[in-house]
């Protein structure tokens, strides 16, 4: 039971104040800015600032760089999220199936990249993927395979960045899936075993369906994380070659803080936010579907 108590407001007041100042007001601010032609001239003299309605959005629709950034970000999400989910799932199931005393060790080892600074990780991977002295190509050469220019060719660079993102991210999901796997009652597996279900059947008929809601939530977490891709391309490729790794946020940053074109930059930020809400909405509704089963 909870009691009516007016002092409750005082407990939430600091949080409310911070959220209002640094989340909600800035959100309204971004929307407002996206309707203006705020640029370096307006920065110098606010007389140069005009409301221009949805013009920034119309311009974005015809902006080739914006479309390319959307494509880049979508590739990272569409390739990276399924790869991450699969790795999270497989590693979690493997960890939960081995002897208890070894679990902690592997859990720690696979989780460590999650707590590492993205900038530092990106610097490290740039050396690993270096064509001249990188270890990855060194290994590939030893195996007699080709030694591609990972960060120098447009098609490979985006995949290399996706690889780094997945490498850094899957340990997070592993912890969550492993916790959900422990919640599945053993009786289900015992009953299935008595019915004669093999390893594969138990995996596909019990484990995966029981984990589906968790995987669904994890998908949203991964999508919203990868959708905000920034530091990896900023450090690894600076958005290149030929803009092939410029994500939406990197484009927003460049337009905003290199060219001071805040109107378009804000429109990009709004589009980014809107798509994330769309992801959340879709996820919520598919989950409701699962619950209804």
């Amino acid at each position: 039971m909870t009691r009516k108590h007016p002092s409750g407001v005082l407990f939430v007041l600091p949080a409310l104040l911070l959220l209002a100042l640094f989340v909600f007001i800035p959100l309204i601010g971004v929307f407002g800015l996206s309707l203006t032609d705020f640029d370096v001239y307006a920065l110098a003299d606010s007389a140069n600032l005009h409301l221009i309605g949805a013009a920034n959005y119309w311009h974005l629709l015809r902006d080739r760089q914006a479309w390319q950034a959307l494509e880049v970000t979508l590739v990272v999400v569409l390739v990276g999220v399924p790869a991450t989910l699969l790795l999270s799932l497989i590693s979690a199931l493997m960890i939960e199936s081995i002897a208890e005393r070894w679990r902690g060790l592997f859990r720690t080892a696979l989780f460590v990249p999650v707590v590492c600074s993205t900038v530092a990780i990106a610097i490290s991977w740039r050396y690993l993927l270096n064509t001249r002295f990188g270890l990855v190509n060194h290994l590939l050469a030893l195996l007699g395979l080709g030694t591609p220019d990972w960060l120098g060719s447009p098609n490979l660079a985006i995949l290399a960045i996706t690889l780094v993102v997945v490498w850094k991210g899957f340990g997070y999901g592993m912890i969550i899936v492993a916790a959900a796997r422990r919640e599945i009652p053993d009786e289900l597996y015992d009953a299935a075993r008595i019915e004669g279900a093999g390893v594969r059947q138990r995996l596909l008929r019990i484990t995966v369906p029981m984990l589906a809601p968790t995987l669904g939530l994890l998908a949203l977490l991964d999508v919203s994380g990868y959708w905000q891709l920034f530091a990896e391309p900023y450090v690894l490729t600076q958005g290149g070659p030929l803009g092939s790794t410029t994500s939406l946020l990197l484009l927003m940053y460049e337009r905003g803080f290199r060219w001071w074109r805040w109107g378009t930059a804000s429109a990009i930020a709004m589009a980014l936010t809107a798509v994330m809400w769309l992801f959340a909405w879709v996820q919520r509704h598919t989950r409701a579907g699962w619950r209804g089963e």
Binding site: F11, G29, F106, T108, L135, A179
Partner: protein, 275 residues
Amino acid sequence: MSLRTRALQVTTYLGLAILAIATLFPLLWVTSIALMRAPETAAGTPPLWPHHPTLYNVVDIIRRQHLGRYFFNSMVVAAATTALSVLVAGSAGYALARVDFRGRRLVSWLVMLGVLIPNQALVLPLFEMFRAVHLINHYAALVLPAAANPVGIVLVQAYMRGIPAEILDAARIDGASEWRIFRSIVVPLMAPMLAAVGVLIFVVSWNDFMWPMIAMQQEGMQTLPVALAAIDREHYQDIGLMAAGATVTILPMVLVFLASQRYYLRSVIAGSLTD
């Protein structure tokens, strides 16, 4: 044990070992390079292990690039952000779960909405706001926005819902004030979750990049990742130097994680159960 089960088991251990090597090896390699000197790092692929381990690169990047200063900035910002966030999330999470007040549902809803707003999309107006009050290049520019963390509130709120309300009601009947109840009963009860949220926020704050890069433009005020990215633009060919910088940035958080793993992983798991 049947042969098939046995084979499956061996494959599992093998698979995990490969994954563990894949995650740890890049980190160990960079640490190893940080301990090497010129002939080893200059030509071709560096050896896996430094033949004459030396702290030369670490000392070099601390001396020439003033890494100590940035390390200090990161420590101050992460510690202040953690302290403030835990305080804010602790009191708000408690009240949203266990105190009935007017507007509670609205506040809960606002917090949930906050979770869905990508904070990196807000940097443009944030920059204008902090510029207007002359707080760009101040620690406050990093601490205050980071403390507006709806995830922490949601975690504490969910944790408090799991604690029986009777404990609090008994104290209320005894006539204790809400503040006393919070301080002497609630805080000890939710201490494990506060620790979990604290470690999570400390690590996130330490690693944060985009907003700190925008808000800290004055020489000497940058945090470690921001300074590292800036040094990298100039010295990326000095592999030993950059490897030392990456190691100095990564290592503290790995140690924090190893020391507080129990709490850290709890916050990760709790975060997936909250709605």
